[in-house]
């Protein structure tokens, strides 16, 4: 059986309570179509992780999908804060394991390398560490350097059940290229048990074989390949389309209250059957064409 799947099929492969690593960073390459489908399918109890929290995480948290979030802080850049995530933390409905960006990246790296733990200089002396020692003592410890005797903070590896990654280019096997900075995506992919690739463009393997140096995600880790243009909308995909500033502003304003967010959810998630209806709802090809990236600038 091939790996090409619909978004619905890929989401159906994720059991309730799974740990899902998300590829988004603030307002770029966020798993937006994925998040909308997860919400429509009514998945519950997820643990999500990412180095910098983004719009994908905020949407999932607001919809009540997420039990635990492992992240290094986050925002919608100048558009605003992660209001749903913040409300969840303030009210205690979300268990947030909050680190720094590098701490989460190191936890993925340890998972990717199959190490039992990873020492790090970050977090020491901070209240981030104090809070983690209370909330997640199983994930932070102290280790002695066997060579110098120095004490180090040690972090437990992260091994997500599945990484969901938005990419620009992939083939049917899931060999994938990421253009632009990759933040935590490579370590996420390599730490995870398996990967769902959501790609803007599907290419023949022959194209991959001509430039294999570009391959960041190797096909052998990938269980599902979903070919879905504009699947990060309203966030940006470098060299493909820009962020939709007007839509993100609407989201930031809507999420200031739970009622506002419920209205947003109803309009953009529940009132449509799938991603194609969503694209029509936001203005169809005419609107999407206005977001297409300039080939030189990449945005």
């Amino acid at each position: 059986m091939g790996k090409l799947a619909t978004l619905a099929e890929a989401v159906e492969s994720i059991p309730p309570g799974a740990h899902v690593a998300l590829s988004g960073f603030a307002i770029t390459r966020c798993n937006m179509a994925f998040a909308r489908e997860v919400i429509r399918q009514g998945l519950r109890g997820l643990t999500i992780s990412q180095c910098v929290g983004g719009m994908d995480a905020d949407l999932l948290v607001g919809a009540g999908v997420v039990k635990r979030m492992i992240y290094g802080g986050g925002s919608l850049d100048r558009f605003g804060r992660l209001n749903n995530v913040n409300r969840g933390i303030e009210s205690g409905t979300l268990i947030a394991e909050e680190y720094s960006s590098l701490s989460v990246a190191f936890r993925y790296l340890a998972g990717a390398l199959g190490l039992p733990f990873i020492p790090i200089r970050s977090l020491r002396g901070s209240d981030i560490l104090t809070r983690l020692q209370q909330m997640a003592p199983e994930n932070v410890g102290v280790v002695q350097d066997p060579f110098t005797g120095e004490q180090w903070l040690a972090l437990r590896p992260l091994v997500p059940d599945v990484a969901v990654v938005q990419v620009q280019v992939a083939d049917e096997e899931g060999n994938a290229w990421i253009y632009g900075p990759r933040w935590d995506n490579e370590e996420q992919v390599k730490a995870s048990q398996r990967v769902i690739v959501i790609t803007e463009q599907l290419v023949p393997t022959e194209i991959i074989r001509r430039d294999p140096e570009r391959t960041v995600i190797p096909g052998f880790k990938v269980s599902h390949v979903v070919h879905l243009p504009f699947s990060a909308h309203p966030t940006s995909v470098y060299r493909v389309y820009d962020y939709d500033a007007e839509h993100i502003r609407e989201y930031a304003a809507a999420t200031r209250t739970t009622e506002g967010f419920q209205t947003y959810l109803e309009k953009y998630v529940f009132s449509v059957q799938d991603h194609w209806e969503y694209l029509e709802l936001i203005g169809g090809m005419k609107h999407l064409a206005s977001l297409m990236a300039d080939p030189i600038l990449g945005y």
Partner: protein, 255 residues
């Protein structure tokens, strides 16, 4: 030639630029530190290397971005890589000379809070969190704090230490196993350093058209005040021109 006409923001950006030496590596977030770093690179520090945490080196943007996640600020970069590459193999490795940090509030030891206001174990309002700020505060050789000069931002004690400064002063930072530490705090009224023994914040200079009374009245703790207090060097005409015409023409960072 010094400028007559400049904004507090421009003075802060210029003061930030003056903290950077040619050939150094600087880790920056978005906003004023970006303006300070690009200004230094176009004037006295052409061999400065500018890093963004998500994996971008030395971009040459021609449009202003809304944050690090905006491809506008990645334009014409020499490297596009990852957190592990930037914050790991450069910063954690010990190669970053200067990190710029901002925040909701700081205390007299330069401990910074970007996480929450209120009681961390009770009622609080959650903001942004660390991102790479804690990593930069922990591993850069020195950090420069840029913050607005208000009593609610320059606090006796911060609600939450996201990014450690000198912790509880003296050698408590070194004892925690951390490198470097804050060397400057740049506000819109003054520039501060830290006493080498106690690590308590110390006034270094006050900006033109500002008084010592005004500086002290808008802080929640009392900094060390030297007997001789210089006036901050104003921006030059050329520095102001570069900021307005080339680095931030849309006035997006300058606000």
């Amino acid at each position: 030639m010094y400028a007559e006409d400049y904004t507090p923001f421009e003075l802060m950006a210029v003061a930030g630029a003056r903290e950077l030496k040619d050939g150094e590596i600087v880790a920056v977030g978005i906003g004023l530190p970006v303006v300070a770093s690009f200004l230094a690179k176009r004037t006295h520090a052409p061999r400065l290397t500018i890093l963004f945490e998500l994996g971008v080196v030395d971009p040459e943007p021609i449009h202003t971005g809304v944050g690090l996640a905006d491809p506008r600020v990645w334009y014409r970069a020499t490297v596009m890589s990852s957190f592990v590459d930037m914050l790991g193999m450069v910063l954690h490795r010990g190669l970053v000379d200067v990190g710029f940090l901002g925040g909701l509030e700081t205390d007299a030891y330069g401990n910074l809070n970007t996480t929450l206001l209120g009681d961390p174990w009770g009622q609080f309002t959650h903001f942004v969190g660390s991102g790479g700020a804690n990593d930069i505060a922990s591993s850069a050789k020195r950090t420069v704090i840029i913050i607005r000069h208000e009593a609610r931002k320059l606090k006796e004690a911060v609600s939450f230490i996201t990014s450690p400064g000198y912790l509880r002063g003296g050698d408590t930072r070194e004892a925690a196993g951390l490198r470097g530490g804050p060397v400057r705090v740049i506000t819109d009224k003054a520039i501060f350093g830290f006493d080498p023994q106690t690590r308590w914040m110390r006034l270094e200079s006050i900006h033109p058209h500002t008084t010592l009374e005004d500086v002290l009245a808008n802080m929640s703790f009392h900094p060390l005040v030297p007997d001789h207090l210089p006036v901050t060097e104003p921006p030059t005409v050329e520095q102001v021109r570069l900021i307005r015409e080339e680095i931030d023409p849309e006035r997006l960072y300058a606000g």
